[in-house]
């Protein structure tokens, strides 16, 4: 596979002073660099890899994603609405760069294979002519006044802001005595290696179930264990259910051979060629000991933060993920931003505990575009274009956005469409984090977002900002999620009476 820019010779972005540096050439970095370039923000784009989409050359182990792309849809592939049907392609304003992943799919499944995903990302980088300095490894960081200095394998880069799109890709093991001797998920490689073996998997989230499902045709016995019960209610509404839940199905039916256990793993001991695993129940009383041939740590990944924690970067999840503001800036280190999977370190308003899709491409591609806009505005004073919206168009526009705006449908409760009062009418402020609209103040305006209720139901929601604060208006549900109809127009008309009267 060809890299976008050959190494050696005329490598772009030599060390020096830039407005922004983007680190990492996975989907988060590609989307951020593309968006910054569209906004005219001068930036260096660095990657330690030799080609884009490095992670998708290695993972997932069992070769298929859990996020859908539907090659056939009721809308054109070049339309904005198609993004809802294609959760894996990067975003573009040019038709020839839109929806690239479905071009590579053989349609045997609506979930792309690992190779399909990699090909789609490489095609995006190539066709967008994104310049990347490959083979340039970020090694250390210095904060010098208002500047951030990155020490790299090629020299120093000095910038007003840095966007780290470095993934959550470093294997992480929970602090269980003896787990350091176990293979990590990333080391499982070929399933046939586990033929006729008894395998204990620590972890019951995505990678745990992925491995367990992959080993079902090979392993003699499979045990999955972690303290938290499987959240069957949540899983029923998650992308994970599409694959991987077969092991849970086998266990739930009551037969032997596959077990899904709620237990703390107290310690793991070497026992001859195998392991002895000591567990203690969390949802049941007692202890169990397992003698197994293999232990696999499917306890997840961490962001490779290098020296940032030593500089004061605050993290969550036992140091694995940077803690971020709603604009994906470190809560403790200004000018340090994160894109890609680590943008999940910003939880948003999290109403009723609901989270956005920031840890997968479908969600973080929007975060990257909004982040680029934010950086352009706050660090370089480049105000976004705000198209006027006629007063009579405000309600139909909001209802269309609630019905099919992909940013709202995907980043539920995190991103919203904002219209504000200006010059006697309204302007389109574009897409913003909901938390910013609610908390930062500003001109009278309205924000539309899609939220979920306590049982996963879809709730179209409108926030109206005025002099006395923000009012919340949850609109009634609709079985087809079509809100651009007359009853909703009347409903919204009554809720926005104050705003539209004052615009």
């Amino acid at each position: 596979m060809a890299a976008v820019e050959p190494r050696g010779g005329d490598r772009p972005f030599p060390p020096g002073r830039y407005d922004v540096v983007v680190v990492g050439s996975g989907p988060g970095g590609l989307q951020t660099s593309y968006a910054l370039r569209r906004l005219g923000v001068r930036h260096a784009f660095l990657s330690r890899d030799d080609a884009p989409a490095g992670m998708f050359r290695r993972l997932p182990i069992f070769q298929r994603l859990i996020t859908w792309t539907k090659p056939a849809a009721p809308v054109e592939r070049t339309s904005r609405e198609y993004e809802w049907y294609d959760h894996n392609s990067l975003l573009s304003d040019e038709p020839e760069l839109k929806a690239l992943v479905p071009d590579f799919m053989d349609r045997s499944f609506d979930l792309p294979s690992r190779e399909d995903m990699e090909a789609g990302l490489v095609a995006f980088a190539e066709r967008a002519r994104l310049q990347v300095r490959y083979g340039c490894s970020w090694e250390a960081t210095r904060l010098e006044g208002e500047r951030v200095v990155l020490e790299t394998s090629d020299g120093e880069y000095d910038a007003a802001a840095v966007v780290f799109a470095i993934g959550v890709t470093e294997p992480w093991r929970a602090s269980v005595p003896g787990l350091e001797d176990a293979a990590h998920y990333v080391e499982t490689t070929h399933a046939e290696r586990y033929a006729d073996r008894r395998v204990f998997i620590v972890g019951k989230r995505n990678s745990g179930f992925e491995v367990a499902q992959g080993l079902l045709p090979w392993a003699r016995e499979t045990i999955l264990a972690s303290p938290r019960p499987v959240q069957t209610g949540a899983l029923a509404l998650s992308a994970l259910r599409v694959r991987y839940l077969h092991p849970y199905d086998e266990y739930a039916r009551g037969g032997p051979g596959t077990y899904v256990i709620d237990a703390t793993i107290e310690r793991i001991e070497r026992d001859g060629e195998g392991f002895r695993v000591h567990t203690h129940g969390t949802t049941w009383d007692g202890s169990l000991t397992f003698d197994v041939d293999d232990v696999i740590a499917a306890t997840g990944f961490r962001t490779p933060l290098r020296d940032l924690p030593q500089l004061g970067l605050v993290t969550v999840s036992d140091g694995r993920i940077p803690a971020l503001t709603p604009w994906w800036e470190s809560v403790s280190l200004p000018r340090i931003y994160f894109a890609g999977n680590a943008s999940g370190g910003a939880k948003g308003i999290g109403k009723r505990g609901a989270g956005a899709s920031s840890t997968s491409v479908n969600g973080f591609r929007y975060n990257a575009r909004v982040l680029a806009q934010h950086i352009a505005e706050t660090h370089f004073g480049r105000a976004r274009e705000r198209a006027p919206v006629a007063r009579d168009d405000v309600i139909p526009y909001l209802l269309r956005e609630l019905s099919g705006g992909p940013e709202l449908l995907v980043q539920k409760g995190y991103l919203c469409r904002v219209l504000t009062a200006a010059h006697g009418g309204f302007v389109d402020d574009g897409i913003e984090p909901v938390a910013h609209f609610l908390d930062a103040g500003g001109p009278d305006g309205v924000a539309a977002t899609i939220e979920v209720d306590g049982s996963g139901g879809i709730v179209p929601t409108v926030y109206v900002r005025g002099r006395s604060g923000v009012d919340e208006h949850e609109l009634p549900p609709h079985p087809l999620r079509r809100y651009d109809t007359e009853p909703y127009e009347r409903e919204l008309q009554s809720r926005l009476r104050g705003l539209l009267g004052s615009g």
């Binding site: 969390t282 605050v314 999840s317 809560v331 938390a435 919340e472």
Partner: protein, 137 residues
Amino acid sequence: MDVAESLSQLALFADLTPAQVEAVVHSFDEEVFTEGQRVLRQGLSGGNVYVIIDGEASVRADGRELRTLSRGDVFGELAALTDQPPSADVVATTILRCFVIPGPQLEEFLLERPRVLLRLLRMEARRLQTSAGEWRQ
């Protein structure tokens, strides 16, 4: 210190066994807010329940500061239990690290852990006593 260790040191979770604390930690998330960030929003629905692991916050309503919160304090629980919007804002005044229980899951969380429920009840009773004392003065 990992999250389980932090939680086990808080009064609210003091009666749980290490395995029970581990299960709690794996069931919910922690969240960190920057100074000045609003955590709970007066009048807006869907708030969660927050247990402060580290840092301080201010309870504010209608522009007045009502009290400050610190490590071990719980907020958002009354709104979650009554399914009403919070009657005050809570704003981080330092970097604030919280353990977060989604509002709709609080009832089940407490019913499954009666000792935590009792601890929370005592905290509420003390808060009520303090408020009553202030009222008398």
